[in-house]
């Protein structure tokens, strides 16, 4: 039972354009969401997060949007740069479980075309 879903396994975007990565979840208990970025042969690194009390969080070129009614979040990268080429995982946690446990999506491989 995949509680966090990333339906696009891959995405290609021209350099300078906007990259939009999507994530859907099914568990209404999730109240904290994160995006991780992973390069080959490295561990995932934290990118940006959002609490369920917000609908938007911005950090430089990265913005995460949360639509709780649709159980959907998205990561916007603008402008996209070649160094953004990586696999992106969204993840979710729930306060009533102490937020220790993250449930990850299956990942989206983003390729930025120069």
């Amino acid at each position: 039972d995949q509680q966090v879903k990333q339906n696009s396994p891959s995405l290609s975007v021209q350099e300078g354009r906007i990259s939009i990565l999507n994530c859907d979840y099914t568990n209404s208990m999730f109240d904290y969401f994160l995006w991780y970025k992973k390069y080959p042969a490295e561990g995932p690194t934290f990118l940006i997060s959002i609490s369920s009390i917000k609908d938007k969080n911005e950090d430089g070129r990265f913005t995460v949007f949360l639509n709780k009614s649709a159980k959907h979040l998205s990561l916007h990268i603008v402008p996209s740069q070649p160094g953004d080429s990586a696999v992106y995982f969204c993840a979710a946690s729930a306060k009533n479980f102490g937020n220790e446990k993250l449930t990850f999506g299956t990942g989206t491989r983003l390729t930025i075309i120069p």
Binding site: Y32, A41, P44, S49, K101
Partner: protein, 117 residues
Amino acid sequence: DVKVTQSSRYLVKRTGEKVFLECVQDMDHENMFWYRQDPGLGLRLIYFSYDVKMKEKGDIPEGYSVSREKKERFSLILESASTNQTSMYLCASRTPGLAGGPTDTQYFGPGTRLTVL
């Protein structure tokens, strides 16, 4: 900077062998985690530990056990390795905090790619 290290980057073992994967973190984090990453399946939680000598099963604990004797070290044990345990294994650590805060972030090691023949 948080540093999470894993004992091996690449490991090749034979079916039936006992395998130890070691993870060490240097930030005095209470929580530690073991995941495996497989194509099309994302990261799946095997086991985690709230603190020393404490452990909890994750989503796919079958065929694995763990040990946490010291705060900085979390070991994953494959009692009798099988070919379906060929995977990338990732360790992570975290300090518990208020929900929505930066301390909810998990920090990952570089991973161990295990091949079981």
